[in-house]
């Protein structure tokens, strides 16, 4: 729609905090943004939604001076402003929290916050000043993080707080967040939104990119929809509903919740007893896990990130050694056995969709087709002879799989790097699910993925279940677990706090369990 509706219902006398006019940007042949215009009113939370690769991040990166627009102009508070680099953006009072955080892993929080905003040549004074300011901000917006922790030792949630602190430390009035909740737990997300609302009430302006319509409905005042690099609509949140937004975004009807018939669990496939993991620093990550997984069911593991779910997945995926007893299809397996790597598990019919597609699931510089064989490159059907792999076969196979999983574009000869996250995720799922495994381990299947793709991915997982396969689902998205799982186990501090049936529990109860509070009387 035209950007006159950009001022949805507001008197035109108010000067927009941000106004974009005819922004276009292309990378090589890809036009990421086409003639985009939009207005963001001061003191509002303005949502932006759109499919993977729609151009949201690019647009915001331009606003923050990370990329340079090919054409178009930017007005900040009515003033036309040149933003050639982030320095200018910061000067104009714009702060941005990128989807993939821009933090120095082995620096402390404090160092990260002052980086680029130091006063004076020597660090000491800057650090001192920052420390006091941080404690203030922490009090003001419940943004508490230990200033002396190293980033790599912080949970993503805390890392994100550092990013926000960075922006506030630079006196940002306009705060951009790109998919901030993609990696957060519900409680962390709620916390974040409390902070954002607080900031808005302070008169700050916030631009929020997300794939989650619920968040849009909850916190935004206005929402803009992007599609294929264009701004297709801007509406007042109160005048719209998720269905409408979903359609605007994907261009077709979308089911917002998974429809699945109830599960008929079969025999036990995977039995885990007293599984324990001690990491390299001698910290015990898993403190005796007992689980069993049956055919034809989806077991969801809920939990705040960093409570051992990842380790559990890694052990079952063969990326990590552990002690304890595991029985797969009745036969015992020693998890401490070093010969027991990913290859072995795969041969025994356990497929694994890792939590981090970009660092684990894919080789970004490999072609899509090479990635489709990744982990299964020893599979007989991929071999031409005793020595040589049958690349032609792999190409053919992967072409088909990508078609079936509606990977866009379905071109096996494209490097994985050049697919959007949503599509990267589909490639991983295609690889693992199409093996038709007895057990599927899935970590964060829809992180950073747009709703169209989410719907698709969920359907695939349910299909697999209905074919009588066992699925272990690991997600920080409570509602994903609630809507997908047939049985929910909650993990806290390396232990299973309890199991619940999705229809007999509530987010509240699960939330308590995830916080390690077992007495669930309060939940009833």
């Amino acid at each position: 729609m035209s950007d006159s509706s950009g001022t949805a219902g507001r008197p035109d006398t108010v000067v927009p905090a941000i106004e974009l006019r005819g922004i276009s940007k292309s990378f090589g042949h890809v036009q990421a943004n086409k003639d985009i215009s939009m207005r963001v009113m001061p003191g509002t939370i303005h949502g932006i939604i759109g499919e993977n690769g729609a151009g949201k991040s690019t647009l915001m990166s331009i606003l923050y001076g990370f990329y340079k627009a090919d054409t178009g102009e930017i007005l900040v508070g009515g003033e036309e402003t040149e933003i050639p680099d982030s320095q200018a953006a910061i000067a104009a009072g714009i702060g941005m929290v990128f989807q993939h955080f821009k933090l120095v892993e082995n620096f402390t929080v404090l160092e990260n916050v002052i980086l680029g905003a130091e006063d004076g040549t020597r660090l000491k004074p800057s650090l001192a000043r920052a420390r006091s300011l941080l404690t203030e901000l922490a009090r003001e917006y419940e943004l508490n993080v230990d200033p002396d922790e190293r980033i790599e030792d912080l949970s993503v949630g805390h890392q994100q707080r550092v990013e926000i602190l960075k922006a506030l430390y630079r006196h940002a009035d306009i705060l951009i967040l790109d998919e901030p909740t993609g990696v957060l737990t519900p409680s962390e997300a709620d916390h974040l939104f409390r902070i954002l609302k607080g900031l808005r009430d302070e008169g700050k302006t916030i631009i929020l990119i997300t794939h989650k319509l619920r968040e849009i409905m909850d916190v935004t005042d206005t929402v803009s929809v992007m599609r294929r690099g264009e701004m297709t609509a801007t509406v007042k949140t109160s005048n719209t509903n998720p269905q409408e937004l979903a359609e605007l975004m994907v261009g077709r009807k979308v089911l917002l919740r998974v429809d699945k018939k109830s599960a008929e669990p079969g025999r036990k496939v995977l039995e885990i007893e007293d599984l324990r993991v001690v990491d390299d620093d001698g910290v015990e990550r898993l403190k005796g896990i007992d689980l069993e997984l049956r055919q034809g069911e989806i077991l969801g593991i809920a939990g705040v990130a960093g409570n051992g779910q990842s380790e559990l997945l890694q052990v079952l995926g063969g990326c990590r050694r552990a002690t304890g007893r595991i029985r797969l299809n009745g036969e015992g397996i020693d998890p401490a056995d070093h010969a027991l790597d990913g290859q072995v598990w795969r041969e025994r019919g356990v497929s694994h969709v890792p939590e981090d597609r970009q660092r684990e699931g894919l080789i970004l510089d490999f072609f899509a087709w090479e990635n489709v064989a990744f982990g299964y490159h020893h599979a007989p059907e991929y071999q031409k002879s005793r020595w040589l792999m049958d690349n032609a076969a792999i190409r053919r196979e992967s072409g088909k799989k990508m078609e079936r999983f509606d990977v866009r574009p379905p071109i096996p000869e494209l490097a994985a790097r050049n697919f959007s996250g949503g599509n990267q995720q589909k490639i991983v799922l295609a690889r693992e699910i199409e093996r038709d495994p007895d057990v599927l381990l899935v970590g964060q299947p829809t992180r950073g993925v747009d709703i169209g793709a989410i719907e698709f991915i969920h359907q695939r997982i349910v299909e697999l279940r209905d074919r009588g396969k066992a699925i272990l689902l690991l997600s920080v998205e409570l509602d994903e677990i609630l809507s997908l799982a047939d049985r929910i186990a909650v993990m806290f501090d390396g232990r299973i706090m309890g199991e619940r049936m999705p229809d007999q529990t509530s987010e509240h109860e699960l939330g308590l369990l995830m916080a390690g509070i077992t007495d669930t009387a309060s939940a009833a």
Binding site: F27, Y64, Y67, Q87, K102, N112, A117, E118, L123
Partner: protein, 322 residues
């Protein structure tokens, strides 16, 4: 081995460690900023030649020093152009610079002096002479402390003292100043620096300039401090040893000092078959003695030094759009 002999060995150690130290710190600054540099060797050589040549012509070692450092920084500039501006392969660029240096130096030397890639030998004000610290002679009498003072600490060329002072200086700059913070960040995650509103390109060029400067000093010391003139290829692999020392030092200034001294010490030992024999009481064949520094390095590396993790963004040109 008596104390005096020990002092002599250590004395040699100090002299041999100094050029390594300069080069090592040069590499440290550069690689901390995310630019790998295997062109230390070449820069050292170029600086060695130009310092000696200009000192010979002008008769002033200081003008020579200026010329040497300039030459080294010019080559560093080429490395910057290749690896920062044009996002080329930093390793190739380094290799190329080594070739350029060993070719250019001799050609120009031949063209200027016609002595076959050698400069006239320097004397008097055209070279750095050893400076005696105050009371050196006075104290040399009293055992141990006095001897050490006179033998070991006194009587080096000014550049040696500069070199050792550069260690704390580098440490301070890298870990205690704004510039250092940004420098390290640029080597770990340039995007963080960029989005924090700092110009990564300028930052890395500065680092490369410093690298050029220090490498320059290494060369100057070789040609005008340790020696009195340039001979073709006179850096003879020290740039690579410095590189090894840098990794050995895990990209830390004080460790760099230690590892360079270690290399120097092993070399010094290999010059003293008599000492080796006295200590180990078995006479080692010359060739083995010659390989000793390298063997010991490997042993120590494997035995005591753990994994060395280079700056995360090292070697990668900073590209945000492609």
């Amino acid at each position: 081995m008596d104390f005096l002999t020990l002092l002599q060995v250590l004395d040699t150690t100090v002299r041999l460690a100094t050029p390594l130290l300069f080069a090592c710190l040069a590499g440290l600054v550069c690689e901390r900023a995310g630019i790998f540099d295997i062109g230390l060797e070449g820069k050292m050589l170029a600086s060695a030649f130009f310092s000696a040549a200009v000192a010979a012509i002008s008769g002033s070692v200081w003008i020579g020093l200026l010329a040497g450092v300039t030459a080294s920084m010019a080559l560093a500039g080429v490395h910057g152009l290749a690896s920062i501006t044009f996002r080329g392969n930093q390793l190739i660029s380094g290799v190329a610079i080594n070739f350029l240096a060993s070719g250019l130096t001799v050609l120009i030397a031949q063209d200027w002096f016609g002595q076959g890639g050698r400069t006239p030998s320097l004397s008097g004000g055209a070279r750095f002479n050893e400076i005696k610290l105050p009371f050196a002679d006075l104290l040399s009498g009293l055992p141990y402390i006095g001897q050490s003072y006179a033998e070991l600490f006194s009587g080096h060329s000014i550049l040696v003292y500069v070199g050792f002072l550069t260690v704390p200086l580098t440490w301070w700059v890298i870990f205690r100043t704004r510039f250092g913070l940004r420098l390290r960040a640029a080597g770990e995650n340039p995007e963080a620096v960029d989005t924090a509103g700092v110009n990564v390109i300028r930052l890395r060029y500065t680092a490369i300039a410093i690298c050029g400067l220090l490498c320059g000093l290494a060369g100057v010391y070789l040609a005008t401090g340790l020696q009195a003139g340039f001979v073709k290829e006179m850096s003879s692999g020290r740039g690579f040893i410095a590189l090894a020392a840098l990794i050995f030092a895990k990209w830390r200034p004080w460790y760099a000092l230690f590892s360079c001294l270690l290399f120097g010490f092993f070399q010094a030992l290999s010059f003293r078959p008599d000492v080796v024999k006295a200590v180990t009481s078995l006479d080692v064949p010359g060739q083995l003695l010659d390989a000793l520094p390298y063997i010991l390095t490997v042993v120590i590396l494997a035995g005591f030094v753990g994994k060395a993790i280079p700056p995360r963004a090292g070697g990668e040109p900073y590209v945000k759009e492609n």
